[in-house]
């Protein structure tokens, strides 16, 4: 019988579970409030460029209101609650998020373009787990910092990125609330919807007014939050360029600051590695979430003796990657988050060609509407090439080969970033040797892009400072004195 072209049919997740409003207001002091300047901006679905909704654009006056609400809630309600009481609210939020997991997943995919299977299986469950995890710490903070004096900070201003909207919200809000702080959070302008849904969840959980405030807007909104004099803590995840501006703005204030910034992480395959699983790991490291991952393994170093084999296997594997409608349950690579980001990625792809690297992209039909980018491999990349040095934040892998371990260590560390790294080898001793010498916040061994609320995450060098997750994540939201 004929066996050609056994293609999977589209298998679309239903969007019926999501009820979008025509317009979203700001969530301040437990209520929906129209922005003072009466300005709104559109949020679109990057998979087909359709208009989803209009979102309030907060200006200085709105930010000030939100900070005042957070201050009031901190002084009069939240800081007076026992840890156990705070924990109850967090557990309640976590359970409500679980109950609405499907709705949140569809919303995340509609607004951000990530494949439904990732938002369904990774983003949302992990976000829930962060709330469960930090809910458990709320009444055990003194145990975490035995023998030390701990105090909450006050009002935390938090700015989250567009690549993992709800997950990054969870990374920030859960520890902040567990430690007794109140929050003003600004989501990224292209992906506000799950944060606004989260505000509804806070209402439903009966969280006291003002403990969590969500203000939407562009960079100017975030800037107003950063410079607000009554904010005690700034937590930012995003680009290194913006991170530097924020750090400058915080100089001379007593604001506590954590920055989780860009990366150009090295993924290293040694010749004794389990090759097929390493290849799969490389695919996961760079193409997960369209490569919109700060710790994406975007520089691949393969030991010379197996490099030809690994590159062939990568090319073959790319043929069974499905690129397309993010709502399709079979989609592996969804839509690029925004037109602007697609242009950035395309700029780097042409730069890679100009720099003389060899390009490989699988033959694959992309949807005619929406922002899509083929998974892209560059081989024969020079260490000096910009595609090997700069963060692309897209599905583009720069591959180099190496001969000795000293050489690869030098090259891997030769970057202004230091967020993550991967090591693939069957030898335990090599794992320990390399991971202790790689200047990166996280080093994964024989796996990549593994996240757990109990595990701290954060960078070296220009990838930022401060840790999120685990006990370490608590100290970012506490004043600790010996």
């Amino acid at each position: 019988m004929s066996t050609t072209n056994w293609n999977l049919e589209p298998s679309l997740e239903s969007t019926a579970v999501v009820q979008l409003k025509d317009q979203y207001e700001l969530f301040i002091n437990g209520q929906w409030q129209a922005p003072k300047a009466k300005k709104y901006f559109a949020t679109i679905n990057p998979s087909d460029e359709s208009h989803l909704s209009n979102i309030a654009w907060a200006t200085e006056a709105d930010v000030d209101l939100a900070v005042k609400a957070a201050r009031n809630a901190y002084e009069n309600v939240w800081s007076k609650l026992s840890g156990a009481e705070r924990g109850k609210y967090l557990f309640r939020i976590a359970r409500l998020m679980q109950e609405k997991a499907r709705e949140l997943a569809v919303l995340e995919t509609l607004d951000g373009g990530k494949p439904i299977k990732e938002s369904r299986d990774i983003d949302i469950p992990l976000a829930c787990n962060h709330f469960f995890y930090y809910a458990g710490w709320a009444d055990k903070l003194q145990e975490a910092f035995a023998g030390q004096q701990i105090e909450s900070l006050g009002v935390a201003g938090q700015i989250t990125p567009w690549n993992f909207p709800l997950l990054m919200l969870a990374w920030k809000i859960a520890p902040a609330l567990a430690c007794g702080n109140t929050v003003v959070l600004k989501p990224a302008e292209t992906t506000s919807l799950t944060a606004l849904k989260f505000a509804e969840i806070c209402q439903e959980a009966g969280l006291p007014a003002g403990v969590v405030n969500i203000i939407t807007g562009y960079g100017d909104t975030g800037a107003a939050l950063v410079v607000h004099p009554d904010v005690n803590k700034i937590a930012f995840t995003g680009s290194t360029a913006v991170g530097k501006q924020i750090q400058k703005a915080c100089i001379g204030t007593d604001k506590k600051l954590t920055l989780e910034l860009g990366g150009k992480s090295a993924n290293i395959i040694l010749e004794d590695a389990a090759v097929d699983q390493a290849v799969e790991g490389v695919i996961n490291a760079i193409f997960y979430n369209q490569g919109h991952v700060c710790c994406a393994g975007s520089r691949l170093y393969v030991q010379e003796s197996i490099s030809a084999q690994v590159i062939e296997k990568l090319k073959f594997r790319l043929q069974s990657i499905y690129v397309g409608n993010p709502l399709d349950k079979n989609t592996d690579i969804g839509a690029i988050n925004s037109k602007k980001q697609l242009e950035t990625i395309e700029k780097y792809i042409s730069l890679g060609r100009e720099e003389g690297a060899e390009i490989y992209q699988p033959a694959c039909q992309l949807p005619s509407k929406g922002y899509y980018c083929l998974p892209t491999l560059f081989t024969d990349v020079a260490q000096s090439a910009r595609i090997a040095q700069e963060e692309i934040f897209g599905p583009v892998l720069a591959i180099q080969t190496f001969r000795t371990i000293d050489e690869v260590l030098q090259k891997a560390n030769n970057s202004p970033y230091g967020l993550a790294a991967g090591v693939w080898t069957d030898k335990g001793a090599r794992i320990f040797g390399l991971s202790s010498q790689l200047r990166a916040g996280v080093v994964w061994a024989n796996t990549y892009n593994k996240f757990d609320p109990a595990s701290p995450f954060g960078g070296y060098k220009e990838s930022g400072f401060g840790r999120e997750g685990g006990v370490h994540g608590l100290s970012a939201y506490l004043k600790i004195t010996n």
Binding site: M1, T3, W6, N7, E9, A273, D276, Q277, T447
Partner: protein, 307 residues
């Protein structure tokens, strides 16, 4: 017979295989299992799976009439759907080969015989040879031999290699499937090693299990064997067939196996020339799901013949 490799050469060859990481293997499989198969693609997959079945009966109480019944089922899977594909082969003990061959004489369905003291392989080589010759003389188109697991686990790779090569030499034009009984092997690294060994010794197909010991055709084992087939193809251009056997009793699992083949080896392997399911009860579940796809309704199991 002159050994093809010295013990040292064979060992070097086997040790050059990459290690297998169990966690990574499971992750790859979970990606396949999250694929969603619907509509015409599912129907196509079900037909494909039916056409790849080695319909099997391997019991001490097998009778000629049971084997004849199985052969009739093999040709007419479901009377009300006459356009269904036929299965690939009927798989029986050597003593039943003659019966099956006669029952299938006007058909393209192959007769496969398990041999070499199936299922344990615990017999002197001379006995295994006679066992195989008997099946071939009665017309077996395919031989499903078992390896000597004891020798393999003891590291006597040349013994196992020579045994496979000798049976292969007897087979002539009959295709040789080599059964590893992976439940008796210790690790995925061992599965990879025996796969490389069997392929080097001349196997046309590599097969997971006898079906007598559980767990049989697990996804990690199958993926590891597919990896060996792929690497051999990349090196030599020669295709080797794959036959998971034992434990695949539902359409859902069978379809996931086919998706695994599609992604790991490519569509060239999606034919019964290169891929088989060793199964006895799988066919009825495939038929039931097929009928469901056609009509939107499940029929009760009573509508499908048990042979």
């Amino acid at each position: 017979m002159q050994p093809k490799y010295t013990p040292q050469e064979l060992l070097v060859r086997l040790k050059s295989a990459p290690p297998i990481d169990q966690i990574g293997t499971h992750e790859r499989i979970s990606k396949i299992q999250s694929r969603s198969l619907k509509g015409p693609a599912k129907l196509h997959g079900l037909r494909l799976a039916l056409s790849m079945i080695d319909l099997t009966t391997l019991e001490g109480k097998d009778t000629p009439s049971k084997v004849r019944q199985l052969c009739i089922k093999a040709q007419h899977l479901h009377g009300i759907n006459p356009d269904l594909p036929k299965v690939a082969a009927v798989c029986v003990y050597p003593t039943m080969v003659g019966v099956a061959k006669k029952a299938l004489e006007n058909s393209t369905i192959k007769v496969a015989a398990v041999s070499t003291a199936f299922p344990s392989g615990q017999a002197p080589f001379e006995v295994k040879k006679l066992d195989t010759l008997y099946a071939l003389e009665h017309g077996a188109d395919e031989i499903d031999m078992v390896i000597s697991r004891g020798h393999f686990l003891a590291g006597e790779y040349n013994y196992v290699f020579d045994e496979i090569a000798a049976i292969k030499a007897l087979c002539g034009s009959a295709r040789l499937k080599v059964i590893f009984e992976t439940a008796e092997l210790d690790s995925l690294d061992q599965v990879r090693r025996i796969s490389d060994l069997a392929i080097a010794a001349g196997a046309n197909f590599i097969k997971t299990s006898t079906g007598k010991i559980q767990p049989a055709a697990t996804f990690p084992v199958v993926l590891t064997m597919l990896g060996a087939i792929k690497d051999h193809f990349d090196k030599t251009g020669q295709m080797i067939g794959m036959k998971p056997a034992g434990g695949i009793s539902s359409a859902k699992i069978a379809l996931q196996h086919l998706l695994l083949v599609k992604e790991v080896l490519g569509e060239a392997w999606l034919t019964n020339e290169w891929y088989r399911f060793g199964a006895s009860s799988l066919a009825n579940d495939l038929l039931m799901q097929y009928q469901k796809q056609l009509t939107g309704k499940y029929q009760s199991a009573a509508y499908f013949s048990i042979d």
